[in-house]
């Protein structure tokens, strides 16, 4: 397969998923992938400087990471879309970047939402018109496999980290796995990396006791998954000695989504309709965890995330119906993490005390 025209493709930083895109671009499309540096306060500052004030925070980080991608030498940007404001991110970000004087090719998936799936293929054709469909499909499936592996490892890591004998080693296995995914060139690499990490995890003893503290983390799609945006919430929480459960990831929400039809019968007393792109899932998960006897729920969102603000009254009702505490965390562009740390510690103290009293 020939490279028709050398492109340097980049994608905004989103949680740990950039290597999934990298794999698809390199293996499936035979183009170069440019990976911008990990997000820092600079990313946020850049984004906040050029983005409109009142827009939700993920727009600011995404804009910042697009600028950093262009600085790192990318000449083609891919942008995704979604059902909320995310659907307009693409066009506004492009306008802002062009106004700043950047020149680049832009593939905004929102341009191709016509209701027909085959139109998305046209978007891919723009990356490499000579790419073969078969190769793309194969690489696509392998990339999806990588994504599922990443989600599974994350889940395993945060549920056990707080109880293992060697947290430092645990962390290094996790980092090593992400590095392996970064280097993966074929499906063997993907599988091997996953198996190696799982084996290594299992070689470290975990002591959970009979009733470990369990906390469910849910909320807005981007902020809840992206550790930079939520100031490593799950890591901190796990290190306090908590089993951290998070349903929201791309595997669950996009690949194996049970759909509103299946979720709604389970939450009928709380809502009749779909209230927003991730609302049904979050309400269902909150109820599910409350029923299972979790010790607390943390609701994470960026400032101004309308769909998540709208489900807060519902979550409060679940909280009082099931007597389960909920901590609401709102992240915006200006925050340092000190305030969050304090609130998290207070929340932990509270659920720990409740547990002792209840036993």
């Amino acid at each position: 397969m020939a490279k028709s025209e050398e492109l340097k493709v980049a994608f905004p930083m989103i949680a740990n998923y950039n290597d999934v895109v990298r794999y698809f671009v390199e293996v499936g499309m035979n183009q170069t992938y440019i990976r911008q540096p990990k997000m820092t306060r600079r990313t946020m500052k850049l984004g906040a400087k050029y983005a409109p004030d009142m827009v939700c925070t993920p727009f600011k980080t995404i804009l910042g990471s697009m600028i950093e991608a262009l600085e790192a030498g990318a000449d083609t940007l891919i942008m995704v879309f979604g059902y909320c404001r995310l659907g307009y991110y693409g066009e506004l970000a492009e306008r802002i970047l062009r106004d700043l004087g950047y020149e680049f090719n832009y593939i905004n998936m929102a341009d191709y939402t016509t209701g027909k799936y085959k139109d998305y293929l046209k978007a891919l054709k723009k990356i490499n018109p000579k790419a073969k469909k078969i190769g793309m499909m194969k690489a696509g499936l392998e990339a999806l496999k990588m994504m599922q592996n990443i989600d599974a490892i994350e889940e395993y890591y945060y549920q056990n980290l707080g109880f293992c004998e060697d947290p430092v080693k645990y962390k290094s296995i996790y980092t090593r796995f992400m590095h392996d995914m970064h280097k993966a060139k074929n499906s063997e690499d993907i599988n091997e990396g996953y198996n190696k990490a799982l084996e290594a995890f299992q070689s470290i003893p975990v002591h959970k006791g009979e009733l470990p503290l369990k906390v469910a983390v849910l909320g807005e799609y981007f902020t809840v998954m992206d550790e930079f945006s939520n100031f490593n919430l799950e890591q901190d929480l796990a290190m306090m000695g908590v089993e951290v459960h998070r349903w929201m990831n791309v595997t669950h929400r996009n690949l194996h989504y049970p759909g509103e039809k299946n979720l709604h019968p389970r939450i009928q007393e709380y809502c009749q309709y779909e209230m927003g792109p991730t609302s049904s899932a979050n309400i269902w998960y909150a109820k599910e965890c409350a029923e299972k006897g979790f010790d607390g729920i943390i609701h994470v969102k960026s400032a101004g995330c309308t769909p998540e603000i709208d489900i807060m009254p519902v979550l409060s009702r679940i909280s009082s119906d099931f007597k389960i505490p909920i901590l609401y965390l709102t992240y915006d562009a200006q925050d340092g993490d000190a305030g969050f740390q304090t609130r998290l510690e207070a929340f932990y103290d509270m659920i720990e005390m409740r547990k002792k009293v209840n036993i």
């Binding site: 009142m54 059902y83 009749q272 309709y273 101004g304």
Partner: protein, 326 residues
């Protein structure tokens, strides 16, 4: 309290009273709803125009991060308590691809149901959602059927109501279009109808402009079909129906106006992005533009100062242009 899914049975129609909160989409659908219920001989009651009391009630019910328009809406719902058996809260998600509403209008019935679960009224709703293939007509007929009306009665009522609402809107648009042709300084106020038409937050701005010899024109009153087309040209992936009408309206009338006020409530999800885009694209048109954000705290003094200086700028520009022509 639960959303109404009443089993089919005849209800004593004379006794039902449906409450309509005078906020949000009511300004868009007032005629449609009113004549629909009139045709079915159902009594309706509408909440009083927004005042300080509505605002306070709403703020107490709402989450602090919700937008001002939502707080006002919840205040109106609260004020209907005790005055009606049902409160009409439709769920309007979208009308097709790139014709969606703010997610708040998807959440509204469930939101009201949860916040007012101890209230004496029930929520009466209809669901417009292209993914479920339910359009306004079907949805409203289904709502009437759930109240015990026959399909044909409901269909007839919708037909009457639809016609009445189209006619009323056409007339509004016609009158609004005349304003663009009038002589004098013209400022377009671009905001959602639930902001521009609200007695408490929007109207004072129109009054102030009029008192100062300006002709204020509403951007949201426009031939909707034409506006959607114009908006697609101006911003291809813009997907919010309400924003597209406003953006399209601005694009259609740029040449006839002297200034634009982007009137928004804090923190409006749509306007936070769309207004930025309008300002970026406006650089080429070079029309004086003022962004006004209303929040629950603002008194009128600050607003008046800003409006005053904006009017000064426009007047000065006009005088300079006149000079140039001489």
């Amino acid at each position: 309290m639960e959303l109404t899914r009443i089993p089919k049975r005849k209800i004593d129609r004379a006794k039902i009273v449906v409450g309509i909160p005078r906020a949000f989409l009511t300004f868009r659908y007032q005629t449609l709803w009113q004549s629909f219920f009139d045709a079915l001989k159902i009594k309706t009651v509408m909440s009083q125009p927004t005042n300080l009391e509505t605002m306070t009630k709403g703020e107490n019910k709402a989450n602090s991060e919700m937008c001002l328009a939502m707080k006002i809406y919840l205040g109106h719902v609260a004020s209907l308590e005790g005055a009606c058996d049902y409160v009409l809260v439709p769920r309007i998600a979208d009308f097709g691809i790139r014709r969606v509403m703010c997610t708040t209008f998807q959440a509204l019935p469930d939101l009201v149901m949860n916040i007012f679960r101890h209230a004496s009224f029930k929520v009466l709703s209809y669901n417009v959602d292209s993914r479920l293939k339910t359009d306004e007509k079907e949805a409203m007929i289904a709502m009437a059927e759930s109240l015990g009306f026959s399909h044909s009665e409901a269909k007839k009522a919708y037909k009457t109501a639809h016609k009445a609402s189209e006619d009323a809107y056409d007339q509004q648009v016609e009158e609004n279009e005349k304003l663009y042709k009038q002589k004098g300084l013209k400022i377009v106020v671009a905001g959602h109808s639930y902001v521009t038409e609200d007695r408490y937050i929007g109207k004072p701005i129109f009054d102030y402009l009029k008192d100062n010899g300006i002709i204020p024109i509403r951007a949201d009153l426009v031939d909707r079909k034409e506006a959607l087309k114009a908006a697609h040209k101006a911003s291809p992936t813009l997907k919010w129906e309400l924003s597209r009408e406003i953006v399209g309206s601005l694009a259609m009338h740029y040449k006839d106006i002297d200034g634009v006020i982007l009137l928004t409530v804090y923190p409006c999800a749509l306007d936070s992005m769309v207004n930025d885009m309008i300002m970026r694209k406006n650089k080429m048109a070079e029309i004086p533009l003022l962004q006004l954000t209303l929040d629950a705290q603002s008194g009128t003094a600050g607003l008046e100062t800003r409006l005053e200086s904006f009017i000064d700028i426009i007047t000065m520009r006009e005088e300079q242009e006149d000079h140039g022509e001489e």
